[in-house]
Symmetry: C2
Subunit: 163 residues, 2 copies
């Protein structure tokens, strides 16, 4: 009996005409996501980052040398709008963690690259981040996590096709 069960019970009492089974799944996904995001943010914050800035730096880092991507590529990986990405890049640039270079292959765009400082920072933070994630699934039996992962993969496949 978690919070979501309480919510569903309320709906069943007030609106017995509605089949709220799926709503329970949506609610658990949302609430769990919120709790986990808060927990992950603690590590980011300890290094002066937010989820937004962490994700940009991490995307550049895992792309491999030379750790440079176009804003378009960053937008595709992170699922945000172009205006949002411009704002993120402005702040990261002001903080000296990335730099914008001209894109030799496309004069319309730029290339966003990790600075040495940005690289060193994300290198440290991602290590802690992964440890934090391990800690957050500690209470969950590994086989249980596997089943959740498989289920989410199937559901996510409805929205992200796979070549």
């Amino acid at each position: 009996m978690d919070q979501v069960d309480h919510i569903l019970a309320q709906w069943r009492r007030e609106r017995p005409d509605l089949d709220v089974g799926p709503m329970g799944t949506f609610g658990r996904l949302k609430r769990l996501g919120d709790h986990l995001a808060q927990a992950l943010a603690e590590v980011y914050k300890a290094h002066g980052l937010t989820a937004a800035s962490f994700n940009v730096l991490a995307t550049l880092r895992r792309a491999g040398p030379p750790h440079a991507l176009s804003p378009s590529a960053l937008i595709a990986w992170t699922m945000v709008t172009s205006g949002t990405m411009t704002n993120r890049l402005d702040r990261l640039e002001a903080a000296g963690l990335i730099e914008r270079r001209v894109n030799p292959e496309d004069g319309r765009g730029s290339l966003v690259a990790l600075t040495a400082e940005g690289f060193a920072l994300i290198e440290r933070v991602v290590t802690e981040h992964v440890a934090n994630q391990h800690r957050l699934v500690e209470g969950l039996p590994p086989e249980q996590r596997e089943r959740i992962d498989e289920g989410l993969r199937a559901w996510l496949a409805l929205y992200e096709s796979a070549p």
Copy 2:
């Protein structure tokens, strides 16, 4: 092979020292949550609402008559800060969907109640919202959704205890 698999493959190439298994689960949860939130927002928007305003109205509706709760109770249900709730209530009040009454039992606080207009609106929107949720799990075998739900319940239980 979804987007998350690509991300994990990049990390394994760049940082083979990290065990990124759990990261995959976090990534799928986050990305799926983002996709679903976008899809749910379409119904809200069609009625001039956002996820934020919908959730406040829905919380008041499902509480049952007289459809009035304190801001504190709304904060507890919706997992936002007091400043955020004040802002949401200001807008909903300006839109005529809720009203703030004095709380006869506590002079510090108020009671937030659905107006007739707010009640009529949420009554319509929640019906469409539930139908939308059914549509969004259509492609998922019901027993698969059940398993996801059970897994999420177990994980969520680590963060929301149950008396």
